[in-house]
Amino acid sequence: MSHVLLLEPNTLLAKVYTQALEHAGHSVAHVAAAQEAVNSADKRAPDVVIVELQLPHHSGLEFLHEFRSYAEWLNTPVVVNTSLLAAQLPLAIEPLMRDLGVREILYKPRTSLQDLVRVAREYVAPA
């Protein structure tokens, strides 16, 4: 069973995402803030990380810089799932994907649960 680290500040939405991902056969660790995400990854290495960029305290971007600074998490697939439009992203899409290893950027209002599940499945390394 693959393990998804879900960094989502809205608990209602996180609950829905968690249920959908679990329904698709993944285990999910939901956290609402960047530091919790680092702690969670330390406890159990995720196979894929789904992250919102707008977070309380530290931003999703800060989390990604921190996350990528550890060798063991350098190649873990990361997907951004955000309410920010492409034009509002704190970094242009290209450096975000190149420098921080973001595999895909999803616009949350237009991303169905089926899309999210598909993405999680796509980037999880085969067992």
């Binding site: 309410s83 034009a87 209002p109 649960l113």
Partner: protein, 241 residues
């Protein structure tokens, strides 16, 4: 208008911007909860689909509003490029279709002939047509009539350019009423109540976005039906003989 009025206006815009950004979250949550209900069989399929469609329509309006506001505030124009207007119209029709069916409104696409590319902005054109479409479908559903209710999404050529718009049996829509409505936005609760029951926000958002692409919404007619349409200029590119 004095300086403090202008400052109040900017503050009001900023507040509305925050509200619009914030609305994305509950609307997304509603849409995804309905989808989860569908996936797990906890919610009646038709109910879930209706909830998702309504939430998606609201999210589209919010996005279009944000785009319109951003363009107004920055006083910038969208960058124009050659765009296949037929393709954008078909895309829009695909997205509107589920919404229209909820209101028992038939959506008809009338793209007769080849029109070639027009100078527009694909993101802006799509956002404008979607906003217009959601508003006119709702308007059609409230007209006293007439079965079947129908909205025609059409493209046709005129001497002044390629006209793309949406038309239906909107008996009381006229150029004068539309002009008056534009002057009443933000002042009246129902700027164009002969057409839509509510604020008609989608119409004005569409007009705002179109203005940033050097065009605007005007009242037009297509095959004995009236509606709102924009004239786009053909791109002088390669063309097939």
């Amino acid at each position: 208008m004095d300086a403090s009025d202008a400052t109040d206006g900017v503050k009001a815009d900023s507040l509305l911007l925050s509200v619009a950004e914030h609305l994305k979250v509950p609307l997304t949550t509603i849409a995804r909860q309905a989808e989860l209900g569908q996936l797990t069989g906890q919610v009646e399929l038709t109910d879930a689909a209706a909830i998702r469609t309504q939430a998606a329509a609201a999210l589209t309006l919010v996005d279009s509003y944000l785009l319109g506001l951003e363009l107004m505030r920055s006083q910038t124009s969208l960058q124009l490029e050659p765009v296949s207007v037929s393709s954008v119209l078909m895309d829009t029709a695909h997205e509107l279709d589920r919404f229209a069916r909820q209101y028992q409104v038939e959506l008809e696409v009338a793209v007769g002939g080849r029109f070639g590319p027009v100078m527009s902005n694909p993101r802006g054109l799509r956002a404008a047509l979607l906003s217009l479409g959601f508003a006119l479908v709702e308007a059609q559903a409230t007209q006293e009539q007439k079965v079947p209710r129908r909205v025609v999404m059409a493209i046709h050529r005129t001497p002044s350019g390629i006209v793309t718009g949406m038309y239906g049996q909107y008996e009381e829509l006229s150029a004068d009423r539309w002009k008056a409505a534009l002057g009443l936005v933000g002042k009246a609760k129902q700027p164009i109540k002969s057409l839509v029951a509510g604020s008609g926000a989608g119409l004005f958002v569409a007009d705002t976005i179109l203005r940033s692409m050097d065009t605007r919404l005007r009242v037009g007619r297509y095959l004995h039906q009236s509606g709102l349409a924009a004239t786009l200029q053909p791109s002088r590119q390669l063309s097939f003989v």
